[in-house]
Amino acid sequence: MTATQRALLNTLRLALAGVAIGLAAGPFFLADTQLGVLADFFSMLVLAIMWNLLAGYADIVTIGQHAFVGVGAYAFYAFAALAGVDPYLSIPLAGVVALIIAVPAMALLFRLRTAYLSIGTWVVAEVMMLGAGKIEAFGGGSGISVPIEILRAFGSTRSRRLATIYWLGFALAVFALGSTYLLLRSRFGVGLMAMRDNEESAASVGVNVTRARILCFLGVAPVLGITGAVITLQKLRIAPQASFSIVDWSVLITFIVVIGGIGTIEGPILGAIFFFVLREYLSDLGTWHLILLGVFSIAIILIDRRGIWGLVRRFALPADLIPIAHRSSSENTAVVEQAGLELP
């Protein structure tokens, strides 16, 4: 690593920390519309981080992530509006419901492997969406609005509510990023990274692949459920097509992670920023923006499957921005070379 590179890396890390601190104070200086867009951004970022954990590391390429987002949304409504539970408490409870539903779903889905598992998750999500549309208490097929009394619990005025929802989203994003970081730094995470690189080799050196898969699937579900609850506060209503939206919570998320860099911690962040910038400029292009995202993600896979972050790492930066490796790779190289070994 040259001095310039090291300086660049440190500047970027400082900038990242600065942006995070700035975002934490967002409601004090941002306009309401900006808060809304950023709250959206946080939800998408959390979903992207979760999908990346499953698809990028644990080899569970789900196309049914929207199932648990929808379950969270509906569970939140059930607790807060139907059962009269405290609205704040209803948010983590939505996560608990998602976790409870994840157990039988997993028992069923893990009978399938690879691409069959992917489509299986999609079938389960369809069943949940169709089922949600059948329950009259949730407004049936057309859905139902969240009562204003519940929204008031999050702030008496619209601006205050926006600020609260913004902070909820921000806290969730920080939690998702922080826990993923700690997870990947742990012994368990080392196993996950080995699985990402080569599953058979990982299993042969003693990584319990099945256990890792189960823990990831069950760990991700409650976070998706909680995100679904927070999204419901942004959208102000639940509806089968919107709460279980495959385009919003699965398709776009996949594109975000693939374009940003699958199997990297920076990828989902970069992809989410890329997506939101693109959306701001291309929103009037209608369906073309989805076509473009599809073309981009296929191109990325053909050029460098580690996404934009992979390209940045290859050409511009010598080390990861968010260091997961216990030793940076250049130090590793030095150690290996000192030991007189050849790198593969």
Binding site: A115, I119, V123, T254, V258, W288, L290, G294, I298
Partner: protein
């Protein structure tokens, strides 16, 4: 009463013929290349729209249009495999899923851009209006019977192709072990291309029947992928004749569900699929 019940069951069985047609291409390519083309349903819908344009704008008869479409379909499948999918095949399955998933979204939105969100249908003329009386209260549509016969012929031909022909031997060799097949001089890339081409020919045939049987719109692809997927898992992976059984099971389940309402029709199919997955994870007719 009994007549009505028999009618229902017959409709379900015949619907199963259409579902089998959706599934054969997917079953064939998945069996050979060990991956599932997520855009399979969208390619069926794309072919339906191609047939729509050929029959309305060019004024061709549907049968002529399908016959003209099939070689094009083969070429598209072959090209897609050789120049795009072959670049990611054999590595992590993740990449193939992501590429075909991307294709799926591109096709859906491309069709939406060109044809709009309206539903369409290809006019089948006398083929879809004629009925056959099988008994005092039992009538079936000529077209659904033709569809079922076509499904049996397609399944039988693919089975023969795979187990009784020269190219079938090569395809099976490559599917068993790519490295060894390459070692003994088979060109696995070319054989994969042929297999995908064959898969796309069945997509063309399926689209021919579907475009007359039912309405379609640009967003119909995923529904058809899920049906095709359920059919092959129900029937047992890699079993050609199993997919006919899977199609019939799904068709009957959906017809019974449709007695309640449209949402239940789809739901019933999914529930039967999940239930079979619990009881018999390897499908109804596993290959080994």
């Amino acid at each position: 009463m009994v007549g009505a019940l028999i009618n229902q069951l017959l409709q379900g069985v015949l619907l199963g013929g259409l579902y089998t047609l959706f599934a054969t291409g997917l079953s064939f390519s998945a069996g050979v290349m060990r991956f599932v083309n997520i855009a399979h349903g969208d390619f069926i819908v794309l072919a339906c729209f191609a047939l729509l344009t050929m029959t309305t704008t060019l004024g061709l008869h549907p049968i002529v249009a399908v016959v003209l479409l099939l070689p094009v379909a083969f070429a598209v499948g072959f090209t897609l495999q050789r120049f795009l999918l072959q670049r990611v095949v054999g590595e992590k399955i993740l990449l193939v899923i992501l590429v075909t998933f991307g294709l799926s979204i591109i096709i859906q939105n491309g069709l939406l851009e060109v044809y709009g969100a309206d539903t369409h249908k290809v006019a089948g003329g006398w083929m879809e209006t004629s009925t056959i009386a099988l008994g005092p209260d039992v009538n079936v549509g000529l077209f659904s019977v033709l569809t079922f016969i076509a499904a049996v012929i397609v399944v039988g031909s693919l089975d023969l192709l795979l187990y009784r022909s020269g190219i079938g031997v090569k395809i099976r060799a490559v599917s068993d072990d790519v490295a060894t097949a390459d070692l003994i001089g088979l060109s696995s890339a070319r054989i994969y291309g042929v297999a995908m081409g064959v898969s796309f020919v069945t997509i063309g045939i399926a689209a021919g029947f579907m475009s007359i049987w039912s309405n379609f719109d640009p967003s119909a692809g995923p529904t058809h992928l899920l049906i095709a997927f359920e059919v092959i898992v129900l029937g047992g992976l890699g079993s050609m004749w199993g997919s006919l059984a899977g199609g019939v099971v799904l068709g009957v389940a959906q017809t019974i569900g449709a007695q309640f309402d449209a949402a239940w029709q789809i739901m019933a199919g999914h529930i039967v699929f999940l239930a079979v997955l619990v009881v018999r994870p390897h499908g109804l007719f596993p290959r080994h």
